[in-house]
């Protein structure tokens, strides 16, 4: 497919980000066909140090989060703290449509690279700044990471068990949500620019992106004046892992009796404690005891498929290994084999959605500064001597 046929094939993005949100935003844009140029410090962006590493070897071309987050992007090196680096960036901005950056508020302004300056060079520029708490306000200079965001974004308090400390969601889900928020906002700004010809500034606060994603704490507190707390787990242990059976939620009238037959406990079908959805919710603990005896003897995926067959909204706790062999994900070609000159080949998870027949751009992440020639010489017209000088001076 020609680049111009891709949904964002006419868009050039400069990505000046460290950590997950900016990189995930850039990954989605690159996936849809945008030319995304990662502008990294000469020693490499901070994401290159994120563990785990391919083969557990800490190396700037082997960070697994980096490899995933930066598929289909280009990389140039540039020291933005130097005047000459700032000048070069301003030249690049003239030919760019979007900037995604995650410097602390005020840093880019110090360098003459803030939206006011850059938009005067390029009024069509869409600039997205992703920061901990936004560009202003009393917490503006505070620091954030995954767990701090979950805490101050109102998400963490209801997670975990009632008798213990709050517990974060595994991995970096909250930071990925901030990146997804930036992606959607950039798409909206591109659409608006398609019509008006003008760019704009997008201010993403990781705290606000998190607060948007808490679905009941604030509304319950506002509406019924009480705070939802942490709840005990409904997961049941199977032979080889964990499941949720789902019969305490709405199921069709035949589901419970049929399950009783399968569990070889037909007498429970008429038990008033379990006869309706509401009854089952009121007798949650007893229900759990009764069903868990059966579940314990089954494999988790058997329980999942069986109960889904009975129209119960069941789930099984899939591990990463389980996901790689899930018939659903495999049949949908969700995984993509991607090779890499240093890390080697592996199967990467794909994207959350598909637009018509358009395939996603799924090529490997760039090596550090891999596109210095192509962009500095090829696009900006620097000679080999000039490139050498810039490199000697530590600008690139």
């Amino acid at each position: 497919m020609a680049d111009t046929e891709r949904i964002l094939g006419d868009i050039t993005v400069l990505e000046l980000s460290h950590d997950i949100p900016g990189a995930y935003c850039g990954k989605l844009l690159a996936g849809l066909g945008a030319r995304v140029i990662k502008v990294e410090p000469p020693n490499g962006e901070g994401d290159r140090d994120m563990p785990p590493f391919a083969g557990d070897v800490h190396h700037r071309e082997r960070s697994l989060p980096f490899l995933y987050l930066n598929t289909a992007k280009q990389s140039v090196t540039l020291d933005l703290a130097l005047r000459e680096g700032q000048q070069i960036l301003r030249r690049m901005v003239a030919g760019a449509d979007v900037i995604v950056e995650s410097f602390a508020p005020g840093i880019l302004a110090k360098w003459g690279l803030d939206y006011t300056t850059l938009s005067s060079l390029n009024p069509t520029l869409v600039m997205t700044s992703i920061t901990a708490f936004g560009q202003d306000g009393p917490y503006r200079d505070y620091l954030i990471n995954e767990i701090v965001a979950a805490a101050i974004g109102g998400l963490l308090y209801t997670m975990g068990l009632p008798e213990r400390e709050p517990l974060k969601i595994g991995g970096d889900a909250v930071l990925y949500n901030a990146g997804g928020s930036a992606f959607s906002a950039v798409m909206a700004a591109i659409w608006q620019r398609d019509v008006t010809g003008s760019g704009q500034f997008i201010d993403i606060s990781i705290q606000e992106a998190t607060a948007t994603s808490q679905i009941h704490s604030s509304i319950e507190a506002s509406w019924i004046y009480s705070n939802p707390g942490r709840r005990s787990s409904v997961l049941l242990e199977a032979k080889d892992g964990w499941v949720a059976v789902g019969v305490e939620s709405g199921v069709s009238a035949e589901t419970w009796p049929r399950l009783c037959d399968i569990m070889d406990r037909p007498e429970l079908a008429d038990d008033p404690r379990f006869a309706t959805t509401f009854a089952r919710r009121d007798h949650r603990e007893e229900l759990k005891a009764v069903v868990s005896d059966w579940v314990r003897m089954q494999s988790k995926e058997e329980v999942y498929h069986l109960l889904q067959g009975l129209r119960s909204i069941a789930g099984y706790v899939a591990t990463t290994a389980d996901l790689y062999r899930s018939p659903q994900l495999v049949e949908r070609d969700f995984f993509q084999m991607i090779d890499h000159p240093v890390a080697g080949p592996a199967s990467y998870p794909g994207f959350p959605f598909r637009v018509g027949d358009q395939p996603w751009m799924q090529i490997r992440a760039p090596l550090l500064g891999e596109h210095n020639e192509a962009i500095y010489a090829g696009v900006l017209g620097y000679s080999q001597q000039e490139l050498h000088r810039l490199h000697e001076k530590g600008v690139i």
């Binding site: 994120m50 995933y68 202003d136 505070y142 979950a150 963490l156 308090y157 705290q207 606000e208």
Partner: protein, 425 residues
Amino acid sequence: MLSRALDGIHILDLTQVAVGPYASFLLSTLGAQVIKVESNQHPDITRGAVEPTGVEQLKQYPGRVPGLRPWNRGALFNQRNRDKLSITLDFSQPAGKEVLKRLAAICDALVENFRAAVMDRQGLGWEVLHAVNPRLVYLKLSSQGNTGPERNYGSMGSTLEQTGGLVSITGYRSGDPLMSNETYPDPVTGIISVGALIAGLRLARRTGKGCLVDFSQREMTVGLLPAAMMDYAFNGRVQGPVGNRDAVAAPQGVYPCAGEDMWIAIAVQSDAQWQALCQVIGNQDWTRDPSLRTGAGRRQRHDQIDAKLAVWTRGFDHYDLMHRLQRRGVPAGAVLKGSELLVDAQLEARGWWEDLAPPEVGKVHRFVTTPWRMSASPFRPSTPAPSLGEHNDTVYLDILGLSRAEYASLQNAGIISTEPRWLRA
């Protein structure tokens, strides 16, 4: 000049409950006109029972009072359905199907989050509507995607966390896997699906042809744990729960503060931040242990550090401690309860919350807004969530252009009505 990004875009919204309404609400904040299609027999369950009873059901009404028309007064419905026009339509009937097709013909996009086969079984799936409106962008938010052996499996946010791998890496150290209880895949999907729909709109504008945007919540969820996925792909390692820690920060955790169930999250990500933390602690003896000067050393003694920190943090109000630590450059966040989030100083200063008094509620409540602040597409005060079928006249007569005779006949046949007719439980 557009005053908002999606001005002039008309969206037919068949979504219900959580993930779908999140998406369509966010689209409306960008200026899209969202027409929410509701059913008198099978409403959005967040409208609640017609005559709610019992503690669980009553919880969602202001002060736990259902009021005269409880289906307009529920908390979740009001939060997720601001700025939408509500019409009712029974599209299980042939005449209703024809009306839906006519609505699809005048809209730019349609959004739904039914189980995969539902719209097809109604004779209103992607292929049919594409023939009716060849430029329509059809955003299908489903649990597993539009294809595959499990496409018709039902899900909720909580089961998606499981089948999407998130639960396998969530849990206390050496503990069992746990769900978040926040149905996290729902709001995140809602947020990302805005970009997905716009991608579809851009493709349609360029090619002149609409498209199906096939959004799999399960695949989105798997995309939230790529470090763990790639660790398996490259290193053959199956990651499990690690509690509140991660591979780099030490110490990192959630520590008790003064008061009832009050906590603070602290994350020390560098030696410099560790030094700063020690200073705030007042350089107590235990902090001066030289083995703690490096990250590796602190990771090794993490349990002991946690125990000491927990004793120290207990003496502080969690906000006060957060400010002390942050002013010295140590990442820290008070673990906010819902009531605290509503009055957090940063969110207040940024004007992030929306204060709105839905008319049948009669009192101001505080609602979430958007995860972005766009200079050329600012958030505007919302109209409250609509009552059931509130905009039937506007949409059917003014927007769709039905004749009065046609409209009356549909109402007489029960295809269009404002009466709630769903079963009680």
